[in-house]
Protein backbone atom coordinates (compact mmCIF):
# COMPACT_ATOMS: atom_id res chain seq x y z
CA UNK A 1 0.00 0.00 0.00
CA UNK A 2 2.76 2.32 0.92
CA UNK A 3 4.46 1.51 -2.35
CA UNK A 4 1.30 2.32 -4.31
CA UNK A 5 0.86 5.61 -2.52
CA UNK A 6 4.44 6.60 -3.19
CA UNK A 7 3.92 5.67 -6.80
CA UNK A 8 0.77 7.77 -6.89
CA UNK A 9 2.66 10.67 -5.36
CA UNK A 10 5.41 10.28 -7.93
CA UNK A 11 2.88 10.13 -10.74
CA UNK A 12 1.00 13.17 -9.45
CA UNK A 13 4.25 15.06 -9.05
CA UNK A 14 5.46 14.18 -12.54
CA UNK A 15 2.08 15.07 -14.02
CA UNK A 16 2.60 18.41 -12.39
CA UNK A 17 5.97 18.61 -14.11
CA UNK A 18 4.28 17.92 -17.48
CA UNK A 19 1.83 20.74 -16.87
CA UNK A 20 4.70 23.00 -15.95
CA UNK A 21 6.53 22.02 -19.16
CA UNK A 22 5.43 25.12 -21.09
CA UNK A 23 6.41 27.97 -18.82
CA UNK A 24 5.80 31.57 -19.68
CA UNK A 25 8.86 32.66 -17.81
CA UNK A 26 12.29 31.55 -18.70
CA UNK A 27 13.06 28.62 -16.49
CA UNK A 28 16.10 29.53 -14.48
CA UNK A 29 18.81 27.07 -13.84
CA UNK A 30 18.11 27.45 -10.16
CA UNK A 31 14.55 26.39 -10.89
CA UNK A 32 15.78 23.27 -12.61
CA UNK A 33 17.99 22.42 -9.71
CA UNK A 34 15.06 23.03 -7.43
CA UNK A 35 12.85 20.69 -9.41
CA UNK A 36 15.51 18.02 -9.30
CA UNK A 37 15.71 18.46 -5.58
CA UNK A 38 11.96 18.05 -5.17
CA UNK A 39 12.04 14.97 -7.32
CA UNK A 40 14.56 13.25 -5.15
CA UNK A 41 12.46 14.08 -2.13
CA UNK A 42 9.37 12.46 -3.56
CA UNK A 43 11.15 9.31 -4.63
CA UNK A 44 12.32 8.95 -1.09
CA UNK A 45 8.79 9.09 0.17
CA UNK A 46 8.76 5.35 0.55
CA UNK A 47 11.25 5.80 3.34
CA UNK A 48 9.29 8.44 5.20
CA UNK A 49 6.42 7.85 7.50
CA UNK A 50 4.95 11.33 7.10
CA UNK A 51 2.53 10.74 4.22
CA UNK A 52 -0.05 13.35 3.21
CA UNK A 53 -2.62 10.68 2.34
CA UNK A 54 -5.82 10.93 4.31
CA UNK A 55 -6.75 7.29 3.89
CA UNK A 56 -5.76 5.03 6.75
CA UNK A 57 -2.70 3.04 5.85
CA UNK A 58 -2.50 -0.69 6.22
CA UNK A 59 0.48 -1.99 8.12
CA UNK A 60 3.57 -0.91 6.17
CA UNK A 61 5.48 -3.64 4.37
CA UNK A 62 9.17 -3.91 4.77
CA UNK A 63 10.79 -0.65 3.72
CA UNK A 64 12.57 -0.84 0.43
CA UNK A 65 15.54 1.30 -0.20
CA UNK A 66 16.31 2.49 -3.68
CA UNK A 67 19.25 0.64 -5.18
CA UNK A 68 22.41 2.76 -5.43
CA UNK A 69 22.40 4.81 -8.57
CA UNK A 70 25.68 3.35 -9.75
CA UNK A 71 24.10 -0.08 -10.19
CA UNK A 72 22.48 -0.75 -13.54
CA UNK A 73 19.17 -1.92 -12.05
CA UNK A 74 15.80 -0.33 -12.49
CA UNK A 75 14.38 1.17 -9.31
CA UNK A 76 11.30 -0.80 -8.10
CA UNK A 77 8.97 2.19 -8.30
CA UNK A 78 9.96 2.81 -11.88
CA UNK A 79 9.25 -0.74 -12.92
CA UNK A 80 5.75 -0.42 -11.61
CA UNK A 81 5.12 2.82 -13.43
CA UNK A 82 3.56 3.36 -16.84
CA UNK A 83 5.38 3.75 -20.14
CA UNK A 84 8.69 5.48 -19.57
CA UNK A 85 8.16 8.05 -22.32
CA UNK A 86 5.87 10.57 -20.71
CA UNK A 87 7.50 10.76 -17.33
CA UNK A 88 11.02 10.38 -18.52
CA UNK A 89 10.94 13.19 -21.03
CA UNK A 90 10.01 15.64 -18.32
CA UNK A 91 12.45 14.24 -15.80
CA UNK A 92 15.35 15.11 -18.04
CA UNK A 93 15.95 18.81 -17.70
CA UNK A 94 16.90 20.94 -20.69
CA UNK A 95 20.29 22.59 -21.01
CA UNK A 96 20.50 26.23 -22.04
CA UNK A 97 23.23 28.02 -23.94
CA UNK A 98 24.62 31.48 -24.47
CA UNK A 99 24.16 33.32 -27.76
CA UNK A 100 26.33 31.84 -30.54
CA UNK A 101 27.75 29.33 -28.03
CA UNK A 102 27.63 25.57 -27.60
CA UNK A 103 29.77 25.33 -24.49
CA UNK A 104 28.17 23.81 -21.39
CA UNK A 105 27.72 26.56 -18.83
CA UNK A 106 29.12 25.85 -15.34
CA UNK A 107 25.63 26.03 -13.84
CA UNK A 108 24.41 23.48 -16.38
CA UNK A 109 26.80 20.83 -15.14
CA UNK A 110 24.64 20.03 -12.11
CA UNK A 111 21.62 19.69 -14.36
CA UNK A 112 23.51 17.29 -16.60
CA UNK A 113 24.65 15.32 -13.57
CA UNK A 114 21.03 14.96 -12.50
CA UNK A 115 20.10 13.93 -16.03
CA UNK A 116 22.90 11.37 -15.97
CA UNK A 117 21.60 10.01 -12.69
CA UNK A 118 18.18 9.53 -14.19
CA UNK A 119 19.71 7.77 -17.17
CA UNK A 120 21.75 5.53 -14.90
CA UNK A 121 18.56 4.65 -13.04
CA UNK A 122 16.83 3.75 -16.30
CA UNK A 123 19.38 1.71 -18.20
CA UNK A 124 16.88 0.55 -20.80
CA UNK A 125 16.07 4.08 -21.88
CA UNK A 126 17.61 5.43 -25.05
CA UNK A 127 17.45 9.13 -25.62
CA UNK A 128 17.82 11.53 -28.51
CA UNK A 129 19.34 14.90 -27.72
CA UNK A 130 17.85 17.73 -29.75
CA UNK A 131 19.90 20.87 -30.44
CA UNK A 132 18.00 24.13 -30.92
CA UNK A 133 18.81 27.78 -31.63
CA UNK A 134 16.99 31.07 -31.33
CA UNK A 135 15.68 32.69 -34.52
CA UNK A 136 18.61 35.03 -34.95
CA UNK A 137 21.30 33.87 -37.32
CA UNK A 138 20.86 32.11 -40.62
CA UNK A 139 19.04 28.80 -41.02
CA UNK A 140 21.82 26.52 -42.21
CA UNK A 141 24.49 27.82 -39.86
CA UNK A 142 21.98 27.50 -37.01
CA UNK A 143 21.51 23.84 -37.93
CA UNK A 144 25.23 23.32 -37.50
CA UNK A 145 25.18 25.26 -34.23
CA UNK A 146 22.25 23.21 -32.96
CA UNK A 147 24.16 20.04 -33.72
CA UNK A 148 27.18 21.30 -31.81
CA UNK A 149 24.95 22.00 -28.81
CA UNK A 150 23.46 18.53 -28.92
CA UNK A 151 26.90 16.96 -29.21
CA UNK A 152 28.27 19.03 -26.32
CA UNK A 153 25.56 17.58 -24.13
CA UNK A 154 26.10 14.12 -25.48
CA UNK A 155 29.84 14.24 -24.82
CA UNK A 156 29.21 15.50 -21.30
CA UNK A 157 26.85 12.62 -20.56
CA UNK A 158 29.27 10.09 -22.00
CA UNK A 159 31.99 11.49 -19.75
CA UNK A 160 29.63 10.95 -16.83
CA UNK A 161 29.46 7.27 -17.68
CA UNK A 162 26.42 6.99 -19.92
CA UNK A 163 26.98 4.52 -22.73
CA UNK A 164 27.18 6.27 -26.13
CA UNK A 165 25.02 3.53 -27.61
CA UNK A 166 22.11 4.93 -25.61
CA UNK A 167 22.52 8.44 -26.96
CA UNK A 168 21.76 9.96 -30.34
CA UNK A 169 21.47 13.57 -31.44
CA UNK A 170 19.58 15.66 -33.94
CA UNK A 171 19.66 19.34 -34.74
CA UNK A 172 16.60 21.42 -35.49
CA UNK A 173 18.44 24.71 -35.69
CA UNK A 174 15.85 27.46 -35.46
CA UNK A 175 13.18 25.32 -37.13
CA UNK A 176 11.34 24.05 -34.06
CA UNK A 177 11.20 26.89 -31.56
CA UNK A 178 9.58 26.45 -28.18
CA UNK A 179 8.34 30.01 -28.16
CA UNK A 180 7.92 32.62 -30.86
CA UNK A 181 8.22 35.99 -29.19
CA UNK A 182 11.01 38.28 -30.33
CA UNK A 183 12.37 38.78 -26.84
CA UNK A 184 15.59 37.91 -25.05
CA UNK A 185 13.49 35.77 -22.73
CA UNK A 186 12.18 33.66 -25.56
CA UNK A 187 15.52 33.59 -27.35
CA UNK A 188 17.11 32.08 -24.23
CA UNK A 189 14.38 29.46 -23.98
CA UNK A 190 15.04 28.45 -27.55
CA UNK A 191 18.82 28.13 -27.17
CA UNK A 192 18.62 24.70 -25.66
CA UNK A 193 19.34 21.02 -25.80
CA UNK A 194 16.21 18.99 -25.23
CA UNK A 195 15.84 15.27 -24.49
CA UNK A 196 13.43 12.85 -26.10
CA UNK A 197 13.01 9.18 -25.25
CA UNK A 198 13.53 7.02 -28.28
CA UNK A 199 10.89 4.32 -28.54
CA UNK A 200 12.40 0.85 -28.80
Amino acid sequence: MRRVSSFAALFIFLSGLVLMGCPKKAPSVEGSAGLSKEKSESTNRGDQSGSSDTKPLPPPPKEEKLPPLTKEEPAPEERASGPAGGEAATSLQDIFFDFDQWVIRPESRKVLEADAQWLAAHPQAKIQIEGHCDERGTEEYNLALGERRAKSVMNFLVNLGISPSRLSFISYGEEKPFCNEHSEDCYQKNRRAHFVIVPK
Partner: protein
Protein backbone atom coordinates in the same frame (compact mmCIF):
# COMPACT_ATOMS: atom_id res chain seq x y z
CA UNK B 1 60.47 59.70 -50.98
CA UNK B 2 59.66 57.21 -48.32
CA UNK B 3 57.01 59.54 -46.94
CA UNK B 4 55.30 59.76 -50.33
CA UNK B 5 55.31 56.01 -50.78
CA UNK B 6 53.84 55.61 -47.33
CA UNK B 7 51.06 58.10 -48.08
CA UNK B 8 50.25 56.38 -51.35
CA UNK B 9 50.18 53.06 -49.55
CA UNK B 10 47.91 54.47 -46.87
CA UNK B 11 45.52 55.91 -49.44
CA UNK B 12 45.46 52.64 -51.32
CA UNK B 13 44.80 50.73 -48.13
CA UNK B 14 41.99 53.08 -47.16
CA UNK B 15 40.36 52.69 -50.56
CA UNK B 16 40.52 48.93 -50.36
CA UNK B 17 39.07 48.86 -46.90
CA UNK B 18 36.20 51.23 -47.52
CA UNK B 19 32.67 49.97 -47.21
CA UNK B 20 30.71 51.66 -49.96
CA UNK B 21 27.11 52.67 -50.11
CA UNK B 22 25.19 50.76 -52.74
CA UNK B 23 24.70 53.93 -54.74
CA UNK B 24 28.42 54.36 -55.30
CA UNK B 25 28.96 50.96 -56.79
CA UNK B 26 27.31 49.22 -59.65
CA UNK B 27 26.95 45.51 -59.32
CA UNK B 28 26.21 43.71 -62.53
CA UNK B 29 24.10 46.59 -63.73
CA UNK B 30 24.73 48.84 -66.63
CA UNK B 31 27.13 51.68 -66.05
CA UNK B 32 25.85 54.92 -64.63
CA UNK B 33 24.95 57.19 -67.50
CA UNK B 34 23.32 54.33 -69.43
CA UNK B 35 20.34 55.70 -71.30
CA UNK B 36 17.12 53.80 -70.82
CA UNK B 37 15.29 53.03 -74.02
CA UNK B 38 12.09 55.06 -74.39
CA UNK B 39 9.33 52.61 -75.25
CA UNK B 40 5.60 52.99 -75.67
CA UNK B 41 3.08 50.17 -75.30
CA UNK B 42 0.45 50.67 -77.97
CA UNK B 43 -3.00 49.47 -76.89
CA UNK B 44 -3.27 45.79 -77.75
CA UNK B 45 -5.93 44.63 -80.12
CA UNK B 46 -8.55 42.24 -78.85
CA UNK B 47 -12.32 41.82 -79.05
CA UNK B 48 -14.38 43.28 -76.25
CA UNK B 49 -14.96 39.80 -74.88
CA UNK B 50 -11.25 39.56 -74.06
CA UNK B 51 -10.89 43.10 -72.81
CA UNK B 52 -9.94 41.95 -69.34
CA UNK B 53 -7.22 39.68 -70.67
CA UNK B 54 -5.95 42.40 -72.94
CA UNK B 55 -5.62 44.78 -70.04
CA UNK B 56 -3.88 42.10 -68.02
CA UNK B 57 -1.36 41.46 -70.79
CA UNK B 58 -0.62 45.16 -71.18
CA UNK B 59 -0.24 45.62 -67.44
CA UNK B 60 2.08 42.66 -67.04
CA UNK B 61 4.21 43.77 -70.01
CA UNK B 62 4.53 47.28 -68.64
CA UNK B 63 5.54 46.05 -65.18
CA UNK B 64 8.09 43.65 -66.66
CA UNK B 65 9.69 46.28 -68.88
CA UNK B 66 9.90 48.81 -66.06
CA UNK B 67 11.33 46.20 -63.73
CA UNK B 68 14.04 45.34 -66.26
CA UNK B 69 15.62 48.77 -65.71
CA UNK B 70 16.33 49.00 -69.45
CA UNK B 71 13.26 50.90 -70.62
CA UNK B 72 11.50 54.17 -69.90
CA UNK B 73 7.79 53.61 -70.44
CA UNK B 74 6.31 56.55 -72.31
CA UNK B 75 2.70 57.57 -71.69
CA UNK B 76 0.24 56.82 -74.44
CA UNK B 77 -0.76 60.44 -74.82
CA UNK B 78 2.71 61.44 -76.04
CA UNK B 79 2.32 59.73 -79.40
CA UNK B 80 -0.70 60.25 -81.64
CA UNK B 81 -2.22 56.91 -82.49
CA UNK B 82 -2.59 55.75 -86.05
CA UNK B 83 -3.42 52.20 -87.02
CA UNK B 84 -3.39 50.31 -90.25
CA UNK B 85 -6.04 48.04 -91.63
CA UNK B 86 -4.71 45.08 -89.68
CA UNK B 87 -5.04 46.99 -86.44
CA UNK B 88 -1.29 47.41 -85.99
CA UNK B 89 0.48 50.78 -85.59
CA UNK B 90 1.14 52.08 -89.08
CA UNK B 91 4.02 54.05 -90.57
CA UNK B 92 2.46 57.33 -89.47
CA UNK B 93 2.41 56.27 -85.87
CA UNK B 94 5.93 55.00 -86.01
CA UNK B 95 6.99 58.33 -87.42
CA UNK B 96 5.03 60.18 -84.72
CA UNK B 97 6.86 58.11 -82.14
CA UNK B 98 10.24 58.94 -83.59
CA UNK B 99 9.37 62.62 -83.44
CA UNK B 100 8.39 62.26 -79.80
CA UNK B 101 11.72 60.67 -79.01
CA UNK B 102 10.28 57.20 -78.54
CA UNK B 103 12.61 54.48 -79.75
CA UNK B 104 10.39 51.38 -79.60
CA UNK B 105 6.71 50.65 -80.00
CA UNK B 106 5.44 47.41 -78.47
CA UNK B 107 2.08 46.06 -79.60
CA UNK B 108 0.21 42.78 -79.54
CA UNK B 109 -3.00 41.12 -80.65
CA UNK B 110 -4.83 38.75 -78.34
CA UNK B 111 -7.04 36.30 -80.18
CA UNK B 112 -9.04 33.48 -78.59
CA UNK B 113 -8.70 30.25 -80.53
CA UNK B 114 -10.88 27.49 -79.23
CA UNK B 115 -9.91 26.98 -75.60
CA UNK B 116 -6.56 28.70 -76.12
CA UNK B 117 -5.32 32.22 -76.55
CA UNK B 118 -2.97 33.38 -79.24
CA UNK B 119 -0.81 36.39 -78.50
CA UNK B 120 0.83 37.86 -81.57
CA UNK B 121 3.39 40.31 -80.30
CA UNK B 122 5.36 42.88 -82.28
CA UNK B 123 7.96 45.55 -81.69
CA UNK B 124 8.75 48.42 -84.03
CA UNK B 125 11.98 50.34 -83.97
CA UNK B 126 11.40 53.97 -84.91
CA UNK B 127 14.99 54.51 -86.06
CA UNK B 128 14.55 51.77 -88.63
CA UNK B 129 10.93 52.65 -89.20
CA UNK B 130 9.96 49.01 -89.23
CA UNK B 131 8.92 45.95 -87.28
CA UNK B 132 11.88 44.19 -85.69
CA UNK B 133 10.29 41.63 -83.39
CA UNK B 134 7.38 39.35 -84.21
CA UNK B 135 6.50 36.43 -81.97
CA UNK B 136 3.38 34.32 -81.98
CA UNK B 137 2.51 32.54 -78.78
CA UNK B 138 -0.23 30.06 -78.01
CA UNK B 139 -1.33 29.20 -74.52
CA UNK B 140 -4.32 28.22 -72.46
CA UNK B 141 -6.52 30.69 -70.69
CA UNK B 142 -4.27 30.76 -67.65
CA UNK B 143 -1.25 31.60 -69.76
CA UNK B 144 -1.91 35.24 -70.57
CA UNK B 145 0.45 36.43 -67.86
CA UNK B 146 3.20 34.08 -68.99
CA UNK B 147 2.76 35.11 -72.63
CA UNK B 148 3.14 38.75 -71.68
CA UNK B 149 6.23 37.80 -69.66
CA UNK B 150 7.64 36.04 -72.69
CA UNK B 151 7.04 39.11 -74.84
CA UNK B 152 8.87 41.22 -72.27
CA UNK B 153 11.85 38.87 -72.27
CA UNK B 154 11.99 38.98 -76.08
CA UNK B 155 12.12 42.75 -75.99
CA UNK B 156 14.83 42.80 -73.33
CA UNK B 157 17.05 40.34 -75.16
CA UNK B 158 16.52 41.93 -78.58
CA UNK B 159 17.23 45.48 -77.53
CA UNK B 160 19.93 44.88 -74.93
CA UNK B 161 21.44 41.49 -75.58
CA UNK B 162 20.81 40.69 -71.89
CA UNK B 163 18.59 37.81 -70.78
CA UNK B 164 15.21 38.76 -69.37
CA UNK B 165 13.86 37.29 -66.12
CA UNK B 166 10.13 37.82 -66.61
CA UNK B 167 9.48 34.11 -67.16
CA UNK B 168 11.46 32.93 -64.14
CA UNK B 169 10.09 31.52 -60.92
CA UNK B 170 11.01 31.75 -57.28
CA UNK B 171 10.85 28.68 -55.05
CA UNK B 172 10.34 29.37 -51.38
CA UNK B 173 9.10 27.93 -48.10
CA UNK B 174 5.78 28.96 -46.61
CA UNK B 175 3.97 27.75 -43.52
CA UNK B 176 0.58 28.97 -44.68
CA UNK B 177 -0.74 25.42 -44.69
CA UNK B 178 0.26 25.02 -41.06
CA UNK B 179 3.43 23.19 -42.00
CA UNK B 180 6.51 24.31 -43.89
CA UNK B 181 6.13 23.33 -47.53
CA UNK B 182 7.81 24.45 -50.73
CA UNK B 183 5.95 26.77 -53.08
CA UNK B 184 6.67 28.27 -56.46
CA UNK B 185 5.62 31.71 -57.61
CA UNK B 186 6.23 33.80 -60.70
CA UNK B 187 9.10 36.25 -60.33
CA UNK B 188 6.54 39.01 -59.73
CA UNK B 189 4.79 37.11 -56.94
CA UNK B 190 1.82 35.82 -58.92
CA UNK B 191 0.59 32.23 -59.21
CA UNK B 192 1.69 30.82 -55.86
CA UNK B 193 1.64 27.04 -56.06
CA UNK B 194 2.53 24.40 -53.47
CA UNK B 195 4.80 21.62 -54.67
CA UNK B 196 5.46 19.51 -51.57
CA UNK B 197 3.22 17.78 -49.07
CA UNK B 198 5.78 16.45 -46.60
CA UNK B 199 3.99 17.92 -43.56
CA UNK B 200 7.37 18.01 -41.91
CA UNK B 201 10.15 20.54 -41.50
CA UNK B 202 11.60 21.62 -44.82
CA UNK B 203 14.72 23.71 -45.39
CA UNK B 204 16.74 25.23 -48.21
CA UNK B 205 15.11 24.64 -51.59
CA UNK B 206 17.57 24.89 -54.51
CA UNK B 207 17.00 24.71 -58.25
CA UNK B 208 18.79 22.33 -60.57
CA UNK B 209 20.80 23.93 -63.39
CA UNK B 210 18.01 23.29 -65.92
CA UNK B 211 15.20 24.28 -63.52
CA UNK B 212 13.80 20.78 -63.87
CA UNK B 213 14.35 19.72 -60.26
CA UNK B 214 14.38 21.18 -56.79
CA UNK B 215 16.56 19.85 -54.02
CA UNK B 216 15.63 20.41 -50.42
CA UNK B 217 16.20 19.08 -46.93
CA UNK B 218 13.27 17.49 -45.13
CA UNK B 219 12.80 15.84 -41.74
CA UNK B 220 9.95 13.69 -43.07
CA UNK B 221 11.76 10.51 -42.10
CA UNK B 222 13.03 11.78 -38.79
CA UNK B 223 16.40 13.11 -39.95
CA UNK B 224 17.35 16.10 -42.11
CA UNK B 225 17.88 14.34 -45.45
CA UNK B 226 18.28 15.75 -48.95
CA UNK B 227 15.55 15.04 -51.49
CA UNK B 228 15.37 15.78 -55.20
CA UNK B 229 11.93 16.65 -56.53
CA UNK B 230 11.35 16.36 -60.27
CA UNK B 231 9.03 19.18 -61.25
CA UNK B 232 7.94 17.48 -64.44
CA UNK B 233 6.96 14.11 -63.00
CA UNK B 234 6.39 15.08 -59.37
CA UNK B 235 8.66 12.22 -58.37
CA UNK B 236 10.57 12.75 -55.15
CA UNK B 237 13.72 10.81 -54.34
CA UNK B 238 15.76 10.76 -51.17
CA UNK B 239 19.33 11.33 -52.31
CA UNK B 240 21.50 11.96 -49.26
CA UNK B 241 20.66 10.61 -45.83
CA UNK B 242 23.77 10.35 -43.69
CA UNK B 243 23.31 10.43 -39.93
CA UNK B 244 23.41 14.05 -38.87
CA UNK B 245 22.74 17.02 -41.12
CA UNK B 246 22.41 16.87 -44.91
CA UNK B 247 22.00 20.35 -46.35
CA UNK B 248 21.68 22.46 -49.47
CA UNK B 249 22.44 20.34 -52.52
CA UNK B 250 23.41 22.75 -55.33
CA UNK B 251 24.00 21.86 -58.97
CA UNK B 252 26.98 23.21 -60.87
CA UNK B 253 25.92 25.53 -63.73
CA UNK B 254 26.34 22.74 -66.30
CA UNK B 255 24.71 20.19 -64.08
CA UNK B 256 27.61 17.74 -63.99
CA UNK B 257 28.21 17.93 -60.23
CA UNK B 258 26.15 18.56 -57.13
CA UNK B 259 27.74 20.08 -53.99
CA UNK B 260 26.22 19.69 -50.54
CA UNK B 261 27.13 19.74 -46.85
CA UNK B 262 26.86 16.91 -44.35
CA UNK B 263 27.95 16.36 -40.75
CA UNK B 264 28.52 12.65 -41.20
CA UNK B 265 32.21 13.12 -40.40
CA UNK B 266 31.49 14.73 -37.04
CA UNK B 267 31.26 18.30 -38.28
CA UNK B 268 29.89 19.97 -41.38
CA UNK B 269 31.97 19.23 -44.50
CA UNK B 270 31.32 19.88 -48.17
CA UNK B 271 31.12 17.09 -50.70
CA UNK B 272 30.47 16.97 -54.41
CA UNK B 273 28.89 14.12 -56.32
CA UNK B 274 27.34 13.31 -59.68
CA UNK B 275 23.67 14.25 -59.87
CA UNK B 276 22.76 10.57 -59.65
CA UNK B 277 24.41 10.31 -56.25
CA UNK B 278 27.57 8.49 -57.35
CA UNK B 279 31.23 9.55 -57.36
CA UNK B 280 31.20 11.15 -53.94
CA UNK B 281 34.18 13.42 -53.27
CA UNK B 282 34.89 15.21 -50.04
CA UNK B 283 36.41 18.65 -50.63
CA UNK B 284 36.76 20.27 -47.21
CA UNK B 285 38.96 18.84 -44.48
CA UNK B 286 39.03 20.52 -41.09
CA UNK B 287 37.32 20.37 -37.74
CA UNK B 288 35.41 23.59 -38.35
CA UNK B 289 31.99 23.67 -39.96
CA UNK B 290 32.05 24.14 -43.73
CA UNK B 291 28.65 24.45 -45.34
CA UNK B 292 26.26 26.32 -47.67
CA UNK B 293 28.15 25.92 -50.96
CA UNK B 294 27.39 28.03 -54.03
CA UNK B 295 28.98 27.50 -57.46
CA UNK B 296 30.69 30.12 -59.58
CA UNK B 297 29.17 30.55 -63.03
CA UNK B 298 32.19 28.77 -64.55
CA UNK B 299 31.61 25.75 -62.34
CA UNK B 300 35.27 25.89 -61.38
CA UNK B 301 34.92 27.43 -57.93
CA UNK B 302 32.71 27.15 -54.90
CA UNK B 303 32.04 29.80 -52.28
CA UNK B 304 30.94 28.58 -48.86
CA UNK B 305 30.57 29.40 -45.17
CA UNK B 306 33.32 28.29 -42.82
CA UNK B 307 34.07 29.08 -39.21
CA UNK B 308 37.63 27.78 -39.44
CA UNK B 309 38.77 31.26 -38.47
CA UNK B 310 36.71 31.24 -35.27
CA UNK B 311 33.45 32.68 -36.57
CA UNK B 312 31.52 32.17 -39.80
CA UNK B 313 32.93 33.87 -42.89
CA UNK B 314 32.66 33.37 -46.66
CA UNK B 315 35.50 31.47 -48.31
CA UNK B 316 36.20 30.51 -51.92
CA UNK B 317 37.85 27.32 -53.12
CA UNK B 318 38.33 25.47 -56.38
CA UNK B 319 35.70 22.84 -57.12
CA UNK B 320 38.11 20.14 -56.00
CA UNK B 321 38.67 21.80 -52.65
CA UNK B 322 42.06 23.33 -53.38
CA UNK B 323 43.11 27.00 -53.19
CA UNK B 324 40.89 27.94 -50.28
CA UNK B 325 40.96 31.65 -49.55
CA UNK B 326 38.82 33.94 -47.46
CA UNK B 327 36.54 36.50 -49.11
CA UNK B 328 34.86 38.38 -46.24
CA UNK B 329 36.68 40.37 -43.59
CA UNK B 330 34.05 42.77 -42.26
CA UNK B 331 32.13 41.80 -39.15
CA UNK B 332 32.06 38.53 -37.23
CA UNK B 333 29.19 36.71 -38.93
CA UNK B 334 28.96 36.26 -42.71
CA UNK B 335 27.03 33.29 -44.13
CA UNK B 336 24.64 32.12 -46.88
CA UNK B 337 26.64 33.04 -49.96
CA UNK B 338 25.03 33.21 -53.40
CA UNK B 339 27.34 33.59 -56.42
CA UNK B 340 26.06 35.92 -59.14
CA UNK B 341 25.45 34.20 -62.50
CA UNK B 342 27.49 37.05 -63.97
CA UNK B 343 30.41 35.77 -61.93
CA UNK B 344 31.75 38.97 -60.48
CA UNK B 345 29.88 39.36 -57.18
CA UNK B 346 28.88 37.17 -54.29
CA UNK B 347 25.87 38.15 -52.19
CA UNK B 348 25.66 36.91 -48.60
CA UNK B 349 24.16 37.59 -45.18
CA UNK B 350 26.21 39.91 -42.99
CA UNK B 351 25.60 40.82 -39.36
CA UNK B 352 26.01 44.49 -38.56
CA UNK B 353 27.07 46.24 -35.38
CA UNK B 354 23.49 46.23 -34.13
CA UNK B 355 23.61 42.43 -34.48
CA UNK B 356 21.06 42.58 -37.29
CA UNK B 357 21.32 40.48 -40.43
CA UNK B 358 21.54 42.30 -43.76
CA UNK B 359 22.28 41.41 -47.35
CA UNK B 360 25.82 42.29 -48.37
CA UNK B 361 27.79 41.70 -51.53
CA UNK B 362 31.52 41.44 -52.15
CA UNK B 363 33.26 41.53 -55.48
CA UNK B 364 34.94 38.22 -56.15
CA UNK B 365 38.31 39.93 -56.41
CA UNK B 366 37.89 41.06 -52.85
CA UNK B 367 38.21 44.74 -53.72
CA UNK B 368 34.69 45.93 -52.92
CA UNK B 369 32.16 45.24 -50.19
CA UNK B 370 28.69 46.78 -50.06
CA UNK B 371 25.46 46.63 -48.06
CA UNK B 372 22.56 45.92 -50.41
CA UNK B 373 19.84 46.33 -47.79
CA UNK B 374 19.49 49.19 -45.37
CA UNK B 375 20.09 49.29 -41.64
CA UNK B 376 17.15 48.88 -39.33
CA UNK B 377 15.75 46.71 -36.52
CA UNK B 378 14.97 43.66 -38.64
CA UNK B 379 16.72 40.73 -40.28
CA UNK B 380 17.28 40.09 -44.00
CA UNK B 381 18.41 36.60 -45.01
CA UNK B 382 18.73 34.02 -47.77
CA UNK B 383 19.87 36.06 -50.79
CA UNK B 384 19.47 34.39 -54.19
CA UNK B 385 20.48 35.90 -57.54
CA UNK B 386 18.32 36.00 -60.64
CA UNK B 387 19.90 34.64 -63.80
CA UNK B 388 20.67 38.13 -65.07
CA UNK B 389 23.03 38.98 -62.21
CA UNK B 390 21.09 42.24 -61.76
CA UNK B 391 18.36 41.20 -59.38
CA UNK B 392 18.16 39.32 -56.10
CA UNK B 393 15.48 37.88 -53.90
CA UNK B 394 15.73 37.56 -50.12
CA UNK B 395 13.72 37.13 -46.93
CA UNK B 396 13.02 39.99 -44.55
CA UNK B 397 10.98 40.30 -41.37
CA UNK B 398 10.91 44.11 -41.53
CA UNK B 399 7.10 44.09 -41.44
CA UNK B 400 6.87 41.52 -38.65
CA UNK B 401 6.58 38.10 -40.26
CA UNK B 402 9.12 36.83 -42.74
CA UNK B 403 8.22 37.87 -46.29
CA UNK B 404 10.00 37.51 -49.60
CA UNK B 405 11.36 40.54 -51.37
CA UNK B 406 13.20 41.34 -54.57
CA UNK B 407 15.73 44.10 -55.12
CA UNK B 408 18.01 45.32 -57.87
CA UNK B 409 21.69 44.71 -57.40
CA UNK B 410 22.27 48.46 -57.26
CA UNK B 411 20.14 48.60 -54.14
CA UNK B 412 17.11 50.17 -55.79
CA UNK B 413 13.73 48.75 -56.65
CA UNK B 414 12.86 46.98 -53.40
CA UNK B 415 9.52 45.20 -53.77
CA UNK B 416 7.66 42.73 -51.61
CA UNK B 417 6.54 39.57 -53.34
CA UNK B 418 4.57 37.73 -50.63
CA UNK B 419 1.86 39.03 -48.36
CA UNK B 420 -0.28 36.13 -47.32
CA UNK B 421 0.06 36.43 -43.56
CA UNK B 422 2.20 33.34 -43.27
CA UNK B 423 5.92 33.10 -42.74
CA UNK B 424 7.64 32.96 -46.14
CA UNK B 425 11.36 32.22 -46.27
CA UNK B 426 14.29 30.71 -48.13
CA UNK B 427 13.64 32.04 -51.65
CA UNK B 428 15.57 30.51 -54.55
CA UNK B 429 15.44 32.16 -57.96
CA UNK B 430 15.12 29.75 -60.89
CA UNK B 431 18.04 29.69 -63.34
CA UNK B 432 15.65 29.75 -66.32
Amino acid sequence: MRGKIFILFLLGWLMLGTLSDAADVFIGTTRSGYEKIPLIIVPFQGESSVAEQVLLAETVLQADLERSQFFTLVERGKVAASFGANGAPDATMISNAATAGVQVLAWAKLVPKGDDWVLESYAYETAKGEQVVAVRMVGDQKSVRMMAHRFADKLVSYFTGEPGIAQTKIAYISDISGRKEIYLMDYDGANEMRITADRSIIISPRWSFDAGQISYTSYREGNPDIYFLDLGTGRRQRMISYPGLNLSAVWSPKGDRVAFATTKDGNAEIYTMKPDGTDLKRITFNTADDLSPTWSQTGKQIAFTSDRGGNPQIYIMDADGSNVHRLTFNGDYNTSASWSPKGDWIAYVCRNEEKRLKICADSVDGQQSVHLTESGPWDDESPSWALNGRDLTFTSNRTGKNQIYAIHADGTGLIRLTSNGASNTAPAWSPK
